[in-house]
C-alpha cells in the first residue's frame, strides 16, 4: 500500500493510507446527519467474516503527492444531502490538514443510501 511520506532532519515520516482513511471516517461521522460510512464489496465481505475494515474509503495519492479521497456515505433520512456532503468535505479537509499537513486535492462523496436515524 502506498504511503504519504515526508522528510525531517531526523528521518522520514510515513503516513499509511489507513490512517488517512481512519481520520476521514471519524471526521465524516462527526457530522450530524451522517448515519455511517457505506460499504463496498470487499469491506462487506470482511465485515461478514467478522473483521472491521476501512477499505470502503478509497485513498489515492498521485505523483505530485496530492491526495484524493472517496468516501461512501449513508445519510440519515430527513437531512439535506448537498448540505451534509459539503459539511463532510469541509470537516474531512480540516481534520486531515490539521493532523497530517497533507495537500488534499479532492474529497469525493458517494451517497449510497438513506436510512432512518
Amino acid at each position: 500500500m502506498h504511503n504519504e511520506e515526508s522528510r525531517t532532519d531526523l528521518g522520514r515520516i510515513r503516513i499509511h493510507k489507513n490512517v488517512i482513511a481512519s481520520i476521514s471516517s471519524i471526521a465524516s461521522c462527526e457530522i450530524d446527519g451522517v448515519k455511517r460510512i457505506g460499504r463496498d464489496f470487499k469491506s462487506g465481505l470482511l465485515e461478514l467474516a467478522g473483521k472491521k475494515s476501512l477499505s470502503a474509503i478509497k485513498i489515492t495519492i498521485d505523483k505530485n503527492e496530492d491526495v484524493k479521497i472517496e468516501i461512501p456515505l449513508v445519510i440519515k433520512y430527513g437531512f439535506n444531502i448537498p448540505d451534509i456532503a459539503n459539511r463532510v468535505q469541509e470537516n474531512v479537509r480540516s481534520a486531515l490538514e490539521k493532523m497530517t499537513n497533507l495537500s488534499i486535492k479532492d474529497i469525493n462523496i458517494n451517497v449510497q443510501s438513506i436510512e432512518r436515524g
Binding site: 464489496f41 459539503n86 474529497i107 469525493n108 438513506i114 436510512e115
Partner: protein, 201 residues
C-alpha cells in the same frame, strides 16, 4: 480497468467455448468413455492433480467474484446523480433516492405499498412510482398530492433545480374486505391447539 474487463470477457468466452466443445465431443461419442473414465480415475488417485484441480477451482471462484464486482460496481456507478462542490464531487446513488421516496409511504396513510424506480436522464430526473392503494382513497387527489410531496422532498433533500418528472402507476387497490378475508384465511391456516385456552390465567 478496461483491459481487465476485456481480459475477463475473453476468459469467460474461452471457458464457455471449452465447455461447449466438451459437450459436443461427448454427444458425438468422439472420445471413448473408457478414456474419460481413466482420466477421472487418474485425477482421483493422483494427489498432485487433485491439488491442482482444487486450486484451479479456487482461482475460478476468485476471478468470478472480482469480475462480478467490476461489472456490478460499474453499473452502480452509472446509476448516480452527481454535482461538484469546491472540495470535490458528490455522487448520490439513485437507490438512495429510491430509499428516500419509499419512506414517503409512511406519510400518506392511504398508500399501502410504494415501489419507486428513479432514472436520471439528460432531460432531468424521472421517477416511476408503482403504488398499491387502500380502497377509501380518492385516486386523482391522492396521486396529485403524492407527486407534489415527492417532487418537494427530492428538491428539498437533493437541492437540485433539474426537472423532476413523476409518473404514477396504481398497480392495485386493496379493499378492507379483502384485507379482512386475508386475515381470516391466515387464521384458518394456523391450526388451533385443542384445549389451548385452558390453564391460562
Amino acid at each position: 480497468m478496461r483491459t481487465f474487463t476485456v481480459l475477463g470477457i475473453l476468459f469467460y468466452t474461452v471457458v464457455l467455448v471449452l465447455i461447449g466443445l466438451t459437450l459436443i465431443i461427448f454427444s458425438l461419442n468422439i472420445l471413448p468413455s473408457q478414456d474419460i473414465n481413466n482420466l477421472l480415475l487418474y485425477m482421483e488417485y493422483s494427489p498432485h492433480s487433485r491439488i491442482i484441480i482444487g486450486l484451479s477451482g479456487l482461482l475460478l471462484i476468485l476471478i468470478t467474484f472480482s469480475f462480478a464486482q467490476l461489472i456490478l460496481g460499474k453499473f452502480q456507478r452509472e446509476r448516480t446523480i452527481a454535482f461538484t462542490t469546491s472540495s470535490g464531487q458528490v455522487t448520490i446513488a439513485l437507490s438512495a433516492v429510491e430509499d428516500l421516496i419509499r419512506r414517503l409511504a409512511g406519510i400518506i396513510p392511504e398508500i399501502k405499498e410504494l415501489r419507486p424506480d428513479v432514472i436520471a436522464s439528460k432531460k432531468g430526473i424521472i421517477v416511476d412510482l408503482r403504488v398499491v392503494l387502500k380502497a377509501d382513497a380518492n385516486i386523482p387527489e391522492l396521486t396529485s398530492r403524492l407527486q407534489e410531496i415527492t417532487r418537494a422532498k427530492i428538491q428539498e433533500v437533493l437541492g437540485i433545480e433539474e426537472q423532476i418528472m413523476i409518473k404514477i402507476h396504481v398497480a392495485k387497490i386493496i379493499s378492507l374486505e379483502e384485507k379482512e378475508r386475508k386475515r381470516r384465511e391466515l387464521e384458518k391456516e394456523q391450526p388451533t391447539i385443542p384445549f389451548g385456552g385452558y390453564g391460562r390465567v
